[in-house]
C-alpha cells in the first residue's frame, strides 16, 4: 500500500484522531492486513501514539497484523450453526486446506477464520468465502465449494 493511498484515506476522515478505527478499517478492507510501516504512518499522520494504535489493531478481530490469503474462508460457529453441525464443516475445511482458524496457507491461497454468528441462522451450517454465503451445507459439500477457489 503506497503512502498516497494512505493519505487519501486519512484525509477522507479529515485527519481527526478519533477516526483511527475508520482509517484502519478502510486500510484493512483494501489491503487485507495492516503492515507495521502503514501503522507507523497512520500514527504519525493522526497524532495517535503507535502503542494506542496497536492496542486498537490487536483488540478488534477484523484487523489482521499478518498478510492474509487470496481467499478468506469464514465458517460460522454461532449458536444456530453449531446446533446444526458446524463443527464438522470446520473440521472438513481444516482437513482440506491443512490450517487452523486464524492461519493462512503457506501458498497464501486461503485464510481461515471461524466466526461467531453472521445473522444467517436460516442458512446454517454455512461457510462464507470472499463474502459469498454457501448455505445449508454438509461436510461433503466443502470440497466442491473450495474447488471453485483453487
Amino acid at each position: 500500500m503506497d503512502n498516497k493511498r494512505i493519505d487519501e484515506i486519512i484525509s477522507k476522515y479529515d485527519g481527526k484522531p478519533n477516526s483511527v478505527i475508520m482509517v484502519l478499517m478502510d486500510i484493512q478492507h483494501e489491503n487485507h492486513w495492516l503492515p507495521r510501516e502503514v501503522l507507523e504512518k497512520v500514527s504519525e499522520k493522526l497524532g495517535v501514539s503507535l502503542s494506542e494504535i496497536l492496542h486498537i489493531a490487536t483488540f478488534y478481530k477484523t484487523f489482521s497484523l499478518k498478510p492474509q490469503g487470496q481467499h478468506e474462508i469464514h465458517v460460522c460457529t454461532g449458536t444456530s450453526c453449531h446446533q446444526r453441525g458446524s463443527a464438522k464443516i470446520l473440521e472438513k475445511v481444516q482437513d482440506l486446506i491443512g490450517i487452523n482458524p486464524g492461519e493462512t496457507t503457506s501458498d497464501f491461497r486461503f485464510s481461515l477464520e471461524k466466526g461467531s454468528c453472521l445473522g444467517c441462522c436460516t442458512l446454517g451450517p454455512e461457510m462464507v468465502v470472499d463474502g459469498i454465503h454457501h448455505s445449508n451445507i454438509t461436510p461433503d459439500d466443502v470440497e466442491d465449494i473450495l474447488k471453485n477457489y483453487r
Partner: protein
C-alpha cells in the same frame, strides 16, 4: 431534490410523490436480506434481464427490499399489485414468473408456499400461517418500500412524526409521550426508554448525544439488521425525534461492518435525509439542528455494550468502564449520551405519530407494543418474526415457527444467547413479557429465540456459550476474564464425563462472583445460562458427574 423548509412544503412534496405513482404498476419485490440472497446478486439480475428480454422495460419495477421475514423459505419475492408471494425462488424461475404472472396474470403454483403438514397452498402473506399470527407494525412495510428511496418512505407517510414532534409538541411533550407509552428498551435490559431519555435530558451539559446501537452481536439475533437495512429512514426519524426530546444535536449510528448492503442503505438514507433537510441545520424550518455520524463495529462482541461502544465511537479500544455514573449522564467524551437499540428507535415514530394511547393498547400490562424475534436453531421456520407482547411462546414456536424439524421433540427454548437462559418445554405456555420471562430466568434479551430439540445436551450447550464468551471477554476485569476461564475448565471436564464432586458448587460460586463483581453485562450475565440450566436441567449436570458421561 431541493431542501424542504416547512411542513407545508413537506406535505406538498409528499403529495407530488404519491400523485406520480400508479398503485397498479406491476412490481417484483425481491427480498435483499442476507438470508435470501447470501451475498449474491444473480436473482436480481435474472429479473432485470427477463424484464428487458420480454420487452417490459419501464412497465415493471424491480424493487430490492429489506428482509420480508420468512427466511427459511427464501429467496422470497412478492409480486405487486396482487401481492402474490413466491418462495424459494431461483434465478431460473424469473422467466416463468415474468411470463406467467407479470404478463399472464396467473399464479405459478409450484412457487407458492405449501404447508408441509397439510399441503395446503397459500398465495398471499395473509394466508401463510407464518405471517398470519404476527403483528408486523414495524416489519410489515419492508416488502413495500425500496430502502434506498426516501420517496418510498415519504409515500408511506414517513417523517410525518418528526414534523408533528417539531411543530406540534415541545421536547417535554415528546418525552412525556414516550414515558406514557412505556416504551422499554429492546436491546436487552428492557429498561424504560423514557426514563433514560429524561436522565440525559436533565443532565447538566451543553452538548449531548443520542446513539443508535445497531451492533447486534448476540448470536442468533438478526432482527435489527432486518429493519435497519429494510427501512433505514424509520430509525433515522426515531433518532432525530429522540435528539429533539433530549436536547442533543448530534446522533451516532453504531452498526456492523460486515454487512455491505446494510451499510450502503444507511449511507444512502443519511445522504437523502440531508438533501431533503431532515438532517442538518434548521430542520424543516423549525430551528432545530441535528447531525448523524456512522461508526462501525470492527468485529468484537463487547463493543455492543453501552460504555464500550462509546469508547469505540471516541476512536479507542472498546473496553467497558464501571457504571458509577450512568452513560446517560457521562458517556461519549464524558457528555450525556443516550443509547438505545435499533428496534427501540424504530418504535418512536409510531408512538409520536399515533399516540401513546394507541401504543398502550398493544401488549401486556408491563410490556407494550410488539417485539421482533429472530427464530433459530432446531425450528422449521427460522426467520424474523414480529408479535405483540403477550403472545405465548407456544404460538411463536409452533404456529409461527412450524415446530421442531425431523419429528423431534422440543427440549428447551433459549433467549439471549450466551448471556441468556433456557426454559424447558413444559413452560411453553409462558407469554412473551419482559418481567415474566426475567422471573423465569430467561430474559428476552435482544430477542434471539433459539430452539433446542431433544438431542441437545445442556452441559455441552453451556460449555459452548462459555467458549464464545471466553473469546469475547475484553480481559479488563478479573472476575470476567478469569472467572469465565475457570467455568469453562469445569464445564469442559463435565462435558467429557469427567465431572468431579463439588463441580456444581464451584460453578455456582464462580457465577455468583462473576455476576456481582464484573464491570459490564458480559461478565455479569455469563452466569445466566448456567443458572437456568441448574434450575431446570440440574439432572443433566448431576449425571455428568455421577455417571461419567453426559447423555441427556
Amino acid at each position: 431534490m431541493a431542501r424542504i423548509n416547512s411542513v407545508k412544503e413537506l406535505e406538498k412534496v409528499r403529495k407530488g410523490i404519491i400523485s406520480k405513482r400508479d398503485p397498479n404498476k406491476p412490481c417484483v419485490a425481491i427480498c435483499g436480506g442476507i438470508g435470501c440472497l447470501g451475498g449474491r446478486d444473480n436473482l436480481i439480475h435474472a429479473f432485470e434481464r427477463e424484464i428487458k428480454d420480454q420487452n417490459l422495460e419501464g412497465q415493471v419495477d424491480v424493487r430490492v427490499t429489506g428482509c420480508h421475514g420468512f427466511c427459511a423459505q427464501g429467496p422470497n419475492i412478492v409480486i405487486y399489485p396482487e401481492e402474490i408471494c413466491y418462495v424459494k425462488v431461483q434465478p431460473e424461475d424469473a422467466s416463468e414468473i415474468v411470463k406467467q404472472t407479470l404478463i399472464g396474470k396467473k399464479v405459478v403454483e409450484r412457487l407458492v408456499y405449501a404447508d408441509p403438514n397439510t399441503g395446503e397452498k397459500a398465495v398471499y402473506q395473509s394466508e401463510i400461517p407464518y405471517y398470519r399470527k404476527q403483528m408486523r407494525n414495524l416489519l410489515g412495510t419492508n416488502p413495500k418500500i425500496d430502502p434506498k428511496s426516501i420517496d418510498d418512505y415519504l409515500a408511506i407517510n414517513g417523517y410525518s412524526s418528526l414534523a408533528k414532534a417539531l411543530f406540534k409538541m415541545t421536547p417535554e411533550q415528546v418525552l412525556e409521550e414516550i414515558k406514557k407509552a412505556n416504551l422499554r428498551g429492546r436491546g436487552g435490559g428492557g429498561f424504560p426508554a423514557g426514563l433514560k431519555w429524561e436522565t440525559a435530558r436533565n443532565a447538566p451539559a451543553e452538548i449531548k448525544y443520542v446513539i443508535c446501537n445497531g451492533h447486534e452481536g448476540e448470536p442468533g439475533a438478526y432482527m435489527d439488521r432486518a429493519i435497519f437495512q429494510g427501512n433505514p429512514h424509520l430509525i433515522i426519524e426515531g433518532l432525530i425525534i429522540g435528539g429533539y426530546a433530549i436536547g442533543a444535536k448530534q446522533g451516532f449510528i453504531y452498526t456492523r461492518h460486515d454487512m455491505p448492503r446494510l451499510r450502503e442503505n444507511i449511507d444512502i438514507a443519511l445522504k437523502a435525509a440531508y438533501n431533503y433537510g431532515f438532517l442538518g441545520t434548521n430542520i424543516l424550518g423549525s430551528g432545530f439542528d441535528f447531525d448523524i455520524e456512522v461508526h462501525l463495529d470492527v468485529g468484537i462482541f463487547v463493543s455492543g455494550e453501552a460504555s464500550a461502544l462509546m469508547r469505540s465511537i471516541e476512536g479507542k479500544a472498546p473496553e467497558p468502564r464501571p457504571k458509577y455514573t450512568r452513560t446517560a449522564v457521562k458517556g461519549i467524551w464524558e457528555r450525556p449520551s443516550n443509547l438505545n437499540n435499533v428496534e427501540t428507535w424504530a418504535n418512536v415514530p409510531q408512538i409520536i405519530g399515533k399516540g401513546a394511547d394507541w401504543y398502550l393498547g398493544i401488549g401486556t400490562e408491563g410490556s407494550k407494543g410488539t417485539k421482533m424475534i429472530s427464530l433459530s436453531g432446531n425450528i422449521v421456520n427460522s426467520g424474523v418474526v414480529e408479535v405483540p407482547f403477550g403472545t405465548s411462546l407456544k404460538e411463536i414456536v409452533y404456529d409461527i415457527g412450524g415446530g421442531i424439524p425431523n419429528g423431534k421433540k422440543l427440549k428447551a427454548i433459549h433467549f439471549g444467547a450466551a448471556m441468556g437462559g433456557s426454559l424447558p418445554a413444559e413452560l411453553i405456555d409462558t407469554p412473551l413479557d419482559f418481567d415474566v420471562m426475567s422471573k423465569l430466568g430467561a430474559a428476552i434479551g435482544a430477542g434471539g429465540l433459539f430452539v433446542m430439540d431433544e438431542d441437545t445436551n445442556m452441559v455441552n450447550m453451556n460449555k459452548f456459550f462459555l467458549d464464545f464468551l471466553a473469546n469475547e471477554s475484553c480481559g479488563k476485569c478479573a472476575p470476567c476474564r478469569e472467572g469465565i476461564r475457570q467455568m469453562l475448565r469445569i464445564l469442559t471436564r463435565m462435558s467429557k464425563g469427567e465431572g468431579r464432586e463439588g463441580d456444581i458448587e464451584a460453578l455456582e460460586e464462580l457465577c455468583e462472583v462473576g455476576s456481582l463483581a464484573s464491570l459490564c453485562a458480559l461478565g455479569k450475565t455469563t452466569s445466566s445460562p448456567i443458572y437456568s440450566a441448574l434450575r431446570y436441567f440440574k439432572k443433566e449436570y448431576e449425571a455428568s458427574i455421577k455417571e461419567k458421561g453426559c447423555n441427556a
